[in-house]
Each structure stands twice: as structure tokens, then as C-alpha cells.
């Protein structure tokens, strides 16, 4: 029923986003009423396109690193050799999730200095948890009969992992990655308080100079990116789940 409507809305959002980033000048009249005393309506201390790309790159680098480490750890603790670590890793994940991202960011500064690095560390650490948790859930709740069949077919432990366990877990792990990316997109803006080059710069410039137009454009670009990426990853996840014959929750 009206399946095309959400798709159309997303397409429109994407077009708007690309147009705004590529040529913000077109939207100047819309943002003009939000400024006072002739302040500029469009961010003028750098290009929105560059900041958007840097923002995305930061989130991408942190998420890829977090995915590799989190999935490797989850595989380790679900093997017989690492089974001893399973209960502890569960409670560590629980504890880790109570650390606020701002605190992680601020605490990383003394260790590595200002700029991009503390943001990457905060995003990496904060991204680890959802991915690890989902990978762990997926790997520990695989259907028993499938595992039995794989063992019966004479597959080695490595073959079972690569050909059976990981493909079956992929949709749930992707769900964790999606969560981690959305958190990362928003958290990266806070990175600008420690001088990282992200879209947060636009928002903070707006807060400092009391320019609502800056705050609005920075915030909306990040929100639009988050919505589109969230939807895109959901679609990949549904595709993976269909291929694995598993329903996503």
C-alpha cells in the first residue's frame, strides 16, 4: 500500500541534501530570516562540502575500526578457547555503555591532544559496544540444528565460522553497525569542541555568534545524513536477512 511514498520522500531528502551541500547559496533566502544584524546566513568560514566529507570520513574510519575489533572479539569469546572471557566481556559491555560520549571525548584529549584523534578514539570506543553486543547475540543464538549439520558435514571450525556462522550472523551484526554509525554521526559534531573538523564546527560557530541559521544548517545536514544512512543500512540488512532466510526483529 503506497510503498512508493516513503521511497519518494527519501529521494527528495537526498536531492535536497546534495543540492544544499553543493550549492548552499540557493537556499540563502530561506535562512535569511533567522539571522540578525546582517549576519551571514550561510556558513562562510569553510566549505560545507568539505566539512561534510570530513565528517563522513571520521565516522567511516572509526566505524570500520570498531567493526573489525568488535567482531574479532565476539568471535574470540564464542570459541572454546576464549569461552572463559564470555561472562566478563558481557559485563564489560554493560559497564562501557554507561560512559557518556562527551566524557570519553574529554578524557581522550589529555592522552592524544586536540584535533581529529580524540574524536576518532571516542567514536571508536563508543561504536565498539553496539557492534560487539549484536555480534555476540548473533553468534550465541545460531540455530542448533544448522550448527549440528555443519559439524556432521565434516566442516572444520574455521570453515564453520566463515561459511556458516558469520553469514548467518551478518544481518544482526549489520544492525549493530547501523546503530553505531547513527550514534557516531551525532557524536562527531561534539568532536568540534576539541577542534576536530566536522559539521559540529558550523553549529558551534552559530552558538558562539548567536546565529541561528548556522545552528540550523549544521544540525539539519547531520540529521539528514543520519536518516539517509540509517535507511540505507536498514535496506542492506533486510537484503542480507532475506538471503539468510532469517527475519530481522
Amino acid at each position: 500500500m503506497k510503498a512508493w511514498l516513503p521511497a519518494l520522500l527519501r529521494l527528495a531528502l537526498l536531492v535536497l541534501l546534495v543540492a544544499f551541500i553543493a550549492s548552499p547559496g540557493w537556499f540563502e533566502p530561506l535562512l535569511r530570516p533567522l539571522t540578525e544584524n546582517g549576519a551571514p546566513a550561510i556558513y562562510n568560514q569553510g566549505s560545507l562540502l568539505t566539512l561534510t566529507l570530513l565528517h563522513l570520513r571520521t565516522v567511516l574510519v572509526a566505524t570500520v575500526a570498531a567493526t573489525i575489533v568488535a567482531v574479532a572479539l565476539a568471535i574470540l569469546v564464542t570459541r572454546p578457547a576464549g569461552a572463559e572471557f564470555l561472562p566478563l566481556s558481557r559485563s564489560l559491555v554493560n559497564i562501557g555503555q554507561s560512559f557518556p560520549p562527551v566524557a570519553v571525548l574529554a578524557l581522550a584529549v589529555p592522552a592524544v591532544g586536540f584535533g581529529e584523534k580524540p574524536t576518532l578514539i571516542a567514536l571508536f570506543l563508543y561504536g565498539l559496544l553496539p557492534i560487539f553486543e549484536n555480534a555476540l547475540t548473533a553468534l550465541t543464538t545460531l540455530p542448533g540444528n544448522v550448527m549440528e549439520a555443519a559439524r556432521g558435514a565434516g566442516m572444520t571450525g574455521w570453515q564453520r565460522l566463515v561459511k556458516v556462522e558469520l553469514p548467518l550472523s551478518a544481518p544482526v551484526i549489520l544492525g549493530g553497525i547501523r546503530l553505531s554509525v547513527v550514534i557516531g554521526l551525532a557524536t562527531a559534531t561534539i568532536g568540534s569542541t576539541v577542534a576536530a573538523k566536522t559539521l559540529g564546527e558550523v553549529i558551534i560557530a552559530g552558538l558562539i555568534s548567536n546565529n541561528l541559521a548556522f545552528v540550523l544548517q549544521g544540525g539539519l545536514i547531520v540529521a539528514a545524513l543520519a536518516v539517509l544512512i540509517y535507511d540505507g543500512l536498514s535496506a542492506i540488512e533486510r537484503y542480507a536477512a532475506r538471503r539468510m532466510g532469517r527475519e530481522t526483529a
Binding site: L34, S98, V227
Partner: protein, 387 residues
């Protein structure tokens, strides 16, 4: 007699060995913002105490390394943590030249790694002991009392973070109470609005997807932007609605922070209420209807109690998230521990950053443990009761 190694113990022993011998225990700085000089354990403490601390951590590391009884591991981790906590204060006094008020001594990477290693050991023991919820809260209270006692006794007063505190003691408590008020107040408001909204969404199917989608989109707006965007509408309200300004509503400050936290809190509360109510077994509802219960009786006596643990999980998410997000309120003049974090970042005074960050992490951590325990208690109690 053969020794068997504990796998986690190997990790802990490696960290302990590195931290005790290769990493600096404390950092000494001639004043607040110059780069520090590293000091090892033996350099930071009077020689007898330094040797004692080394002995304690080495024995603790060996106990962790070998397969040893849980009670021994528990004792080793608690003794090592206590010794570290007390002696870092001693190191502060020992390293500061007499009468020098500019010098700063702060714990360095070796100290933090040792704390990390023995906390890991303690966490492992506590996980293996499989403590009941009330015992976990008890352990938290004991730990809080121990830290409180060390703070009150003044044995940490020579450390840099407490020197930062000493020069802002009044504003610390004022910002702290603002932080807690923001986090708890917005949670309370979200529960008051979110619960009925969740029940409504559960009862009125067509509303559900729309409401949850809108709340989902609010979550994607970065917090600093949402805080900023609320400045304008609230400023307008303050200027145009009579009495609003007297009520404390202003464009900048606490009001936009409160509203932003409230908006972020709505999704977990509403979504978990909907999920919780949807998970109530059909049989329970049918039985209640068969007994002639009205809709209202069914809601309060059957559905709500059964959905309670799930709703509580939503509240836990909100509380931990709000304690963290309230730090950002400082950017728009809303106060809270974030004031120290951002001031410290601005002055590159890391001790000041810690003064804001440590209480925030401690609050979030305590809130998570307490609410987890409450959730476990409510859900096991219901399972234990005969249906």
C-alpha cells in the same frame, strides 16, 4: 604440584608488569599547564611504601595469573585497589615540595593501568560470583563509601584534580545539583508525557508508526544542534507569554537544555511502553476480560504490571543517556558538570576536564548499576509469582 594459568590472568599480569615497571606512576608539574615529568612508583613514594606497593601489585598479579580460589582473587583485587587509592594520595604529598602551591601532582598512565587491571580482576570475580541484585547495589554502596571516606579524610587533597576542586568547591556543588536536576527532571517529564503517549500508541494502532517515526527523527538531530535550535522558540515564549519569564523560561540557559533532554528521552520511554504492552500475553488479557474487568482495571492491574520491567529498561536507557547529555548543556549556558569539561578544554587544563568528567562517569555508572538491579528484581519477582 603443577601450576595452571588463568587465561584472563595472563592479560592482567602483562598489564600489571608493564604498568608497575615501564609506565610512570605519577606526573609532576611545576604549575597547572606546563608539560609534566614522569615519576615511577619508587620515585613517587617514600622507599618503604614504594616497595610495599610494588610487592602488593606483584603478588596481586601472580594471584591473577594462576588458577586460584575466587576468595583469594577477590581479596587480592580489593587490597591492591585500596593500596593504590591510598598511596596515590601519599605520592601527591611526597612529590609536592613543602609550601609550594603551584606544583601539581596527578596520577599517570601506570596508575590508571594498575587500576584498570585490578578492576578487571574484580569485575571478573564479581561476574563469576553471580551476585544477587541487592548484593550488587551493596557492593556499589561500599565502594562509594570508601571513596567518600578517602575524599573526606583529605588524603587526596594534594592531587591536582582536588586542587581544582578546592578553588571551585561552591560552583562544583551548584553545577552538580544543576546537572542532576536536568537529568532527573527531564526524565520525570518524559515519563509523565511518554507513558500515556505509549499507552495511546498501543491502543490506537494507526498512531503508532507516525509517533515513533517522529521521535526517531528527533534522536538523529545532533544534541548540540537541538540545544541551539531551542534557544529561539524559548526566547520568543519568554518575551511574549506573560509570566513565562518569571517561571524561569529563557532563551539561553537551563530551559532549552531541559526541553532538549526531554525530547531525547521521549523515544525510549514511548517505544518501551509500546513494546512492553505488546508483550503482555493474550491469555492474561482474555482472562481479565472474562473476569469482567473494565479497560481501565485491565490497564492498571494486568497490562501495566506485566509490562513494567520493559518500561523500566527504557527508563534506564534514558537516565544514563541524560546524565551524559547534560554535559552538553554547558555549551548553551545551561550549567552542569559540562561547565568544567569545556572550561578545561578551553584552558588546556586537563585536571579541570577530569573534575567535570569523573563525576559524570561515576553518576552514569551508579545509575546503570542501580537500575539494572531494580529491573532484575522486578522481573524475577513476577516470574516467581504463580500466574
Amino acid at each position: 604440584m603443577t601450576f595452571r594459568f588463568d587465561k584472563l590472568g595472563i592479560v592482567i599480569a602483562v598489564v600489571v608488569a608493564y604498568a608497575a615497571f615501564a609506565a610512570p606512576f605519577a606526573t609532576f608539574r611545576a604549575n597547572r599547564i606546563v608539560p609534566g615529568q614522569a615519576r615511577s612508583i619508587l620515585e613517587s613514594l617514600p622507599s618503604a611504601l614504594g616497595a610495599l606497593l610494588l610487592a602488593i601489585v606483584i603478588v596481586g598479579g601472580i594471584i591473577a595469573l594462576l588458577k586460584t580460589p575466587l576468595v583469594l582473587r577477590l581479596a587480592a583485587s580489593v587490597i591492591a585497589l585500596a593500596a593504590l587509592a591510598i598511596l596515590i594520595g601519599t605520592a601527591g604529598g611526597f612529590l609536592t615540595p613543602a609550601g609550594n602551591t603551584f606544583a601539581r601532582v596527578s596520577p599517570a598512565s601506570g596508575f590508571w593501568l594498575l587500576i584498570f587491571a585490578f578492576t578487571l580482576l574484580l569485575a571478573d570475580v564479581l561476574t563469576r560470583l553471580n551476585l544477587s541484585p541487592s548484593a550488587r547495589v551493596g557492593a556499589l554502596v561500599v565502594a562509594a563509601l570508601a571513596v567518600g571516606a578517602l575524599l573526606v579524610s583529605g588524603s587526596w587533597d594534594s592531587l591536582s584534580i582536588l586542587k581544582e576542586y578546592a578553588s571551585r568547591a561552591d560552583s562544583f556543588w551548584a553545577e552538580g545539583s544543576k546537572h542532576v536536576t536536568l537529568a532527573l527532571g527531564s526524565l520525570a517529564a518524559a515519563v509523565v508525557v511518554g507513558l500515556p503517549l505509549g499507552i495511546l500508541c498501543h491502543r490506537v494502532e494507526p498512531l503508532r508508526a507516525g509517533v515513533l517515526n517522529v521521535l526517531n527523527i528527533i534522536q538523529t538531530i545532533p544534541s548540540i544542534a537541538l540545544f541551539g535550535l531551542l534557544i529561539a522558540p524559548l526566547g520568543w515564549v519568554a518575551a511574549h507569554v506573560p509570566g513565562a519569564a518569571g517561571f524561569g523560561i529563557r532563551g539561553i540557559g537551563t530551559a532549552p537544555a531541559f526541553v532538549a533532554l526531554f525530547l531525547y528521552s521521549l523515544l525510549p520511554v514511548v517505544a518501551n511502553t509500546v513494546v512492553g504492552l505488546a508483550g503482555v500475553p493474550r491469555a492474561a488479557n482474555d482472562a481479565a476480560r472474562g473476569m469482567g474487568m473494565t479497560d481501565r482495571q485491565r490497564l492498571f492491574d494486568v497490562e501495566f504490571p506485566l509490562a513494567f520491567p520493559v518500561i523500566l529498561t527504557g527508563i534506564r536507557i534514558v537516565l544514563v543517556q541524560n546524565i551524559g547529555l547534560a554535559t552538553i548543556a554547558a555549551l548553551i549556558g545551561g550549567g552542569g558538570f559540562g561547565v568544567f569539561v569545556f572550561q578545561g578544554v578551553g584552558q588546556t587544563a586537563m585536571d579541570l576536564v577530569l573534575l567535570g568528567a569523573v563525576p559524570t562517569v561515576a553518576l552514569a555508572f551508579a545509575a546503570a548499576i542501580i537500575l539494572d538491579a531494580v529491573i532484575e528484581m522486578t522481573s524475577t519477582k513476577r516470574r516467581a509469582q504463580p500466574a
